[in-house]
């Protein structure tokens, strides 16, 4: 329980899949509380005793289904079941008693659907709840409107419910757009960082070879420490450290043979291939998640300047306001990239055709991220001349 609340208070550090699970647990807790509360409230409802028993028991069964779905890692299905559960509970209240607090249940159901922030669920279930709400308000108006009430009170109930639905729809659409944009930016950043780390791995490999040291995974001290530590942890969690030792052997074996050759080998079992695939993310010899997390850990201790002004800006106009200087900067960058491309070709021993020289080296780059419109226009207007003079002619 303590662990769960710690997660809830720190959801900003957790990925979407984890948060989704937390949401289902929270909704389940909330629905369980509401269901327990419903037992004494059932005495006010116009249902037969049998109907009340069946409904409450049915709700508890559904609660069990949700638990099972979570246990078998099916949070998306559990979300749908929890929404249906809330609608059933809402129907139980609204069809059993006509009162203002039954009317509140339309809002409670809507808020549960909103909580998941899934546009499709909101459009399907949310719309259904609003339609039922309008029907309830029109049908059971005598439970909601007092004799001295204002003119058109029943329409105010409806208007506010519809307004509540629409505002939340706008909010979900807005959030959806923000999250898509943010996610895109995040993925874009990850791609570029992956590219930097590709080169970092290459340079570190160079440093290692110059020092005549063996790769870390071949180092016996490293292997011994990893064997011992993983066994120590496994014995405490699973009371058996033997399995992890085999896994460690497989981990070293993947480094020696290569992940692809293991996956392509017909003689290796499916289970072993599956485990190898899981371990593939954590190889030390390639630009994997493991390597990335290590480098990101290391750079935390890198000497870094405290310059915060334009720290993350890569726009030339933040370096200088003068157009002529921006054009010089553009040319220098063009020349640098042209040289880097040529260097890559030499390393990979790829012959360059005449057509390739004419290919725009900024094809995949969003120039607006770096240059102002005047510089981009200058580039477009003088493209042939730039290629002629600036492309590395080696």
């Amino acid at each position: 329980m303590k662990e769960f609340f710690r997660k809830v208070f720190n959801t900003e550090f957790l990925p979407m899949s984890e948060v989704r699970k937390i949401k289902v647990w929270l909704v389940m807790g909330f629905l369980l509380f509401l269901t327990i509360l419903t037992i004494p409230y059932s005495t006010f409802f116009d249902y037969s005793v049998l109907m009340k028993v069946i409904t409450i028991s049915g709700l508890f069964v559904l609660m069990g289904v949700m638990l099972l779905l979570l246990r078998f890692s099916k949070p998306l299905v559990a979300i749908q079941v929890s929404i249906i559960y809330s609608i059933l509970l809402m129907l139980y209240y609204t069809q059993g008693v006509n009162s203002f607090y039954a009317y509140i249940f339309f809002y409670i159901s809507l808020s549960i659907i909103i909580f998941y922030q899934e546009l499709f669920s909101y459009l399907v279930y949310g719309t259904l709840v609003v339609i039922l709400g309008v029907y309830y308000t029109l049908t059971f108006r005598e439970g909601l409107v007092t004799s001295a009430d204002i003119t058109g009170a029943v329409y105010i109930y409806i208007a506010i419910l519809v307004l509540f639905y629409l505002i939340n729809l706008i909010q979900i659409l807005h959030n959806e757009k923000i999250y898509t944009d943010l996610n895109y930016e995040w993925v874009k950043m990850n791609h570029v960082i992956h590219n930097y780390q590709e080169d970092i791995l290459y340079y570190l490999e160079d440093v290692r070879q110059d020092a005549h040291k063996s790769p870390m995974y071949e180092d016996l001290e490293f292997q011994k420490a990893a064997f011992e530590l993983s066994r120590f942890i496994a014995e405490q969690i699973m009371k058996d450290g033997r399995e992890i030792v085999n896994l460690m052997d497989l981990y070293v074996y993947i480094h020696e043979k290569g992940l692809l050759s293991i996956l392509d080998n017909q003689e290796i079992s499916v289970a072993m291939k599956k485990t190898s695939n899981m371990l593939g993310k954590y190889l030390l010899s390639e630009n994997t998640d493991m390597f990335s997390m290590m480098i990101n850990f290391y750079v935390r201790f890198q000497d870094s300047d405290n310059n915060m002004k334009n720290r993350y800006s890569y726009k030339i106009e933040d370096l200088t306001d003068y157009n002529d200087e921006q054009i010089i900067a553009f040319c220098l960058i063009y020349s640098y990239i042209s040289h880097e491309i040529e260097k890559d070709r030499e390393w990979n021993q790829i012959e360059r055709s005449e057509d390739e020289i004419k290919v725009n080296i900024f094809d995949q780059v969003d120039l607006q991220d770096f240059f102002n419109p005047q510089v981009i226009a200058f580039y477009n207007d003088n493209y042939d001349m730039i290629v002629k003079y600036m492309t590395n002619k080696k």
Binding site: I170, I233, I237, I316, E325, I328
Partner: protein, 399 residues
Amino acid sequence: MQTKKTHAFSEIEQYREYLEIKNLRGKNYIVSGVFFVMLILTVAYMILTNYSVASIIPIALGYLLLLIINFVLSAYGDSEYSYLKMNKYISTLGMFSIATAMIMFFQSPSFVPLLFVAYCVCAIYQDMKVLIISDIYFIVVIILTVVNFPELLLAQNSTGGSNFSITLFSILFLMMLSISAYIIMKEKSFFYNQIAKSKELEYRNIRLLIELKHKTNKEDKNFMDYYDHTNEFLKAFSEKIELPNIFEEKIAILKDLEANIADEKILEKYSDYDQRDLIRLRRLLISNQNLLAKIGVKVNKSRESSIKKREIFSATHFKSFNKQSDTTEVKILAFVIFYVALKKGLLGMKKLTNEEIFSTITGTDYFYYIDSKVMKIYQENSDVFDAIISDAFGKGGTS
């Protein structure tokens, strides 16, 4: 044990705030739009049901005042962010005040759900302080309504209805809304954190990349050629447009700066320039850790990446040792490899101390990248971990 974890990079706070503010403008437009629609609906209802002009004007003025404040503060917010923040709180208080005023004025239970609408309008801001203000205001108004107008919420045919039930269910509803708003707020923070962190990681990775390139002698020794190519091209360009070559002198200064010629000598040679020009031009040097060199690296690496649409919605780019798809054994092994590799140290990188490793893993967001059971064992047995490492590596625990 420290319960609240910090971000691995303290520098990201400013950028996080920038992202927050960038999205706040869009939220302000939505809130203003809702105020406007509510103004129209309220006035239309009052006109249709024959309320006097004297009754309509105060409510319409309330909405209009709120709208004007919203526009003014949003406009000022373009130059000073604090106005945008102020706008959130004023809009929240204003929205709840109008809702309360309408409940009091009309004295009809049908207007009580307006508080729910007020709450969800304010939830658009996704701000903790706004959330607290909304919660307090909501509870106070519901209790005051029930206490001062007990007959208001009891309808004619309320068999089971009581003021207690209404208050209870309203508070339950509020609870659900608050939890929902809180988690949504945190979800949004997740992206802000990741993007801000990626920005800082990019900044530091570029720096490391240039450093290692230099260390391994892989950097281009002929970078002066870049200036020559640039000069050659811009000379031809000036001839083409038949204007004097305004670039030549600056390129010559850049070459002198690259050659580490003293500023005084450069200024002596180019009397039209002063120290400020040199400071600015120094940023345009393409070698080493200069700013233009970093931009060059970024442009070059951006060139090599393209994103497929399905990747945007994939969770695989979240790097951790706590992936749902991994078995417990794999999670244990991933952490152990990471930990032992850090202890062993990467050749070419700064050696990290035991304290640096422990405090970063347990005190920053790295804490959440590791399976909670594994993390618990590490926190409770860090001495055992060190002893195992020392035993395997020999004295000192590091190679």
